[in-house]
């Protein structure tokens, strides 16, 4: 929209060039009507017509980058300014005697002043002095006002208006052309904030579009109307003046009231919207907080899942290995045995075969334990005697002469627990103690139980080789981790019993000193 309006400057510039040319032709061929219009009116001077052509050109060519054209226009504008300023100086100080006939550059004082103003504006505009925008706008409005006054004077036939003291007379087509030129200059003005405001698609733009024309035209039209009424003797000048003042104030008050109401409504709406937004924002913040919390929970869950997955992966991997290797050993031994003749060697193979079988059985027992741990064991809860369980386990263990198992079950001889779990826990701790025994002393195992309400503390202490907890402490309850070469095993036992104990919030921990021994502390929670 604004771009379209701005293009109208070409039209305005072209129009003033046409008028200037028209008048010049009139002077050239002595066609009086062309430069004077009507015999009783003032004529437009040829100098004025020339200046109009220069100004029209510079308005129409705004925005064109041709260097030569710009230089020529600037020179022309300087000439226009000089002509204008000569008129002013001549009027006030009479240094030159510029008679119409001998000096073709003679024009009226008003024209001279307006040309000065116009040339300054156009000069600034061509050189893109942006800071001059406000000055330019003021000058344009001032020039427009003077030319409009002159036109009004012709319409109303008040000579005072078009040859206002101290201005001398101005031709009607000169005044019209000035109006055209100032309008063109207004449109061609760079960074024209006023034009942008008027054409803006905003509340302010809308307001300006409705109020500005009313504010500009209403007093003018009313004044003209009342003046006409006075002419026709409908009422006196005083009455018409009072009427003008009252009507103007009435119209202005009405407009201001209407617009204030609108602004008030809009502002209320805005405040409400802002309040709503604040509320929504607060809600959003809360939601965000919740979201973050959920995210955190999800992340934790994901981590747990990943760990579980990893454990399962290691488990399957190791289990397949632990199941396969004894079977393969057995196969190889069987093959060897078939080909062997020597009875002594056969016995050796048989012994190796037996230990392979045992290992396989151990692994399978471990796997059974895992299956048991996964399944529901509620039906196996009963009151169990520690001594009984221990006896059944010791029957399978191979203790050497001089080894001792010292028990202290007096404080807590019984526990209500899942029987397979308790068997597994005790068996694993005992076999560990036996496996990792010190090679050069008799094995001593202390087993102690203590009761605290529903909790039973079980302590299993040995005098074996010990574990380097600094190095392996974090791995000790992981599946398939073994820390010594000196004993066979699948490395699943401790992982398994930890799972069993922790199933109902119990705990297990270990203390150990290399060369002195290892102690496991379990806290079993009764079911």
């Amino acid at each position: 929209m604004i771009a379209k309006i701005k293009k109208a400057n070409i039209f305005f510039g072209g129009l003033s060039i046409a008028i200037g040319t028209f008048v010049l032709i009139g002077w050239w061929h002595e066609f009086t009507f062309m430069h004077q219009l009507f015999p009783q009116l003032h004529p437009m001077r040829s100098a004025t017509a020339l200046c109009f052509i220069v100004c029209g050109l510079s308005i129409a060519s705004v925005g064109r980058k041709m260097f030569l054209l710009r230089v020529l226009l600037l020179a022309g504008l300087i000439a226009v300014f000089s002509v204008g300023i000569i008129q002013i100086i001549n009027y006030f100080f009479y240094p030159f005697d510029l008679s119409i006939l001998s000096w073709p550059i003679k024009m009226s004082l008003a024209s001279g002043l307006l040309f000065c103003i116009l040339s300054i504006v156009l000069f600034n505009n061509i050189l893109s002095y942006r800071y001059a925008y406000k000055v330019n706008l003021f000058l344009i409005l001032f020039g427009l006002a003077i030319s409009l006054l002159a036109i009004t004077g012709y319409i109303l036939d008040y000579q005072a208006l078009y040859s206002l003291f101290p201005f001398s007379t101005m031709a009607p087509h000169t005044a019209v052309t000035f109006i055209i030129l100032f309008l063109g200059a207004f449109l061609a003005l760079r960074d024209n904030l006023l034009l942008e405001l008027i054409s803006a698609n905003s509340l302010g733009g809308q307001y300006a579009r409705t109020v500005l024309p009313v504010g500009l035209l209403m007093p003018v039209l009313l004044g003209l109307l009342l003046l006409a009424a006075v002419r026709w003797h409908l009422f006196s000048l005083e009455v018409s003046f009072i009427l003008l003042v009252f009507l103007c104030s009435l119209v202005v008050t009405t407009i201001v009231y209407q617009k204030s109401k609108l602004i008030h409504k809009i502002d209320l709406h805005k405040q409400k919207t802002l309040e709503n937004m604040r509320l929504l924002n607060a809600q959003l913040g809360k939601l965000n907080e919740e979201l973050r919390l959920h995210e955190y929970e999800l992340k934790t869950e994901k981590e747990v899942l990943e760990t579980t997955n990893e454990t399962l992966d290691t488990f399957v991997h190791a289990a397949s290995h632990d199941l396969r290797s004894p079977v393969q050993n057995m196969k190889a031994l069987h093959q060897l045995m078939k080909q062997e003749e020597d009875e002594m060697m056969k016995k050796k193979y048989l012994k190796a075969l037996e230990s392979s079988t045992n290992r396989l059985e151990n692994t399978i027992n471990g796997l059974m334990g895992i299956v048991a741990l996964q399944s529901n064991q509620e039906s196996n809860i009963e009151k169990i005697s520690f001594q009984q369980v221990l006896d059944s386990i010791l029957a399978d263990c191979t203790l050497q002469k001089g080894d001792e198992v010292i028990v202290h079950f007096k404080e807590a001889p019984f526990i209500v627990y899942v029987k397979p779990y308790l068997q597994s826990i005790l068996r694993n701790l005992l076999t560990n103690a036996i496996k990792y025994r010190s090679p050069n002393k008799n094995l001593k195992i202390h087993i102690t139980t203590k009761r605290a309400g529903h909790r039973v503390k079980l302590k299993v202490q040995d005098n074996g080789i010990g574990i380097d907890l600094q190095q392996y402490g974090h791995l000790i309850f992981q599946p398939f981790k073994r820390f010594s070469e000196h004993a066979p095993g699948s490395g699943i036992g401790l992982h398994l019993i930890k799972g069993m104990i922790e199933k109902n919030e119990g705990t297990i921990r270990v203390e150990s000193t290399l060369g002195i021994g290892t102690t496991f502390y379990c806290e079993l929670i009764e079911y």
């Binding site: 991997h317 190791a318 397949s320 290995h321 396969r324 290797s325 004894p326 393969q328 050993n329 196969k331 190889a332 031994l333 093959q335 060897l336 080909q339 060697m345 050796k348 193979y349 190796a352 230990s355 392979s356 290992r359 981790k481 073994r482 820390f483 010594s484 070469e485 066979p488 490395g491």
Partner: protein, 126 residues
């Protein structure tokens, strides 16, 4: 006549391999170590390069130092001086991941599934 080093923590496996090696004729000497540290110490102690093993069997699953860790150390310490020594991974793992990882080592030439038999051994030494 080939010289062989076997590294495995599984006693029974070592026992069977021992029995097999005793039976075949084309082995001049063989050494069995039950962990990687001992094996590295043994290799370090070999001064005469004609005594260096021609074939090394390494198990993957061993406590303290597993087969892969042994390989990393071996490649740094010995491989450049003894490029003709073949290394066979010996494993009962059926995991494809282990196999790939093993064969990615420059020094590893074979991946052998347990148990080791006379025919497999003959194939490796031919």
């Amino acid at each position: 006549m080939a010289k062989i080093l076997l590294i495995d923590d599984d006693e029974i496996n070592n026992f069977t391999v021992d029995a097999i090696l005793k039976r075949v004729g084309f082995i001049s000497n063989y050494v069995i170590k039950d962990n990687g540290w001992d094996a590295l110490d043994y290799l370090k102690a070999v001064h005469d390069s004609t005594d260096f093993p021609d074939l090394i069997f390494v198990d993957i699953n061993m406590p303290e130092m597993d087969g892969f860790e042994f390989l990393e150390r071996y490649e740094v310490m010995f491989w450049s001086q003894h490029p003709h020594t073949k290394i066979s991974m010996l494993s009962s793992s059926i995991s494809e991941r282990d196999r790939e990882r093993a064969l990615n080592f420059m020094s590893v030439s074979e991946y052998v599934y347990k148990p080791l038999t006379e025919s497999k051994l003959a194939g490796l030494l031919s």
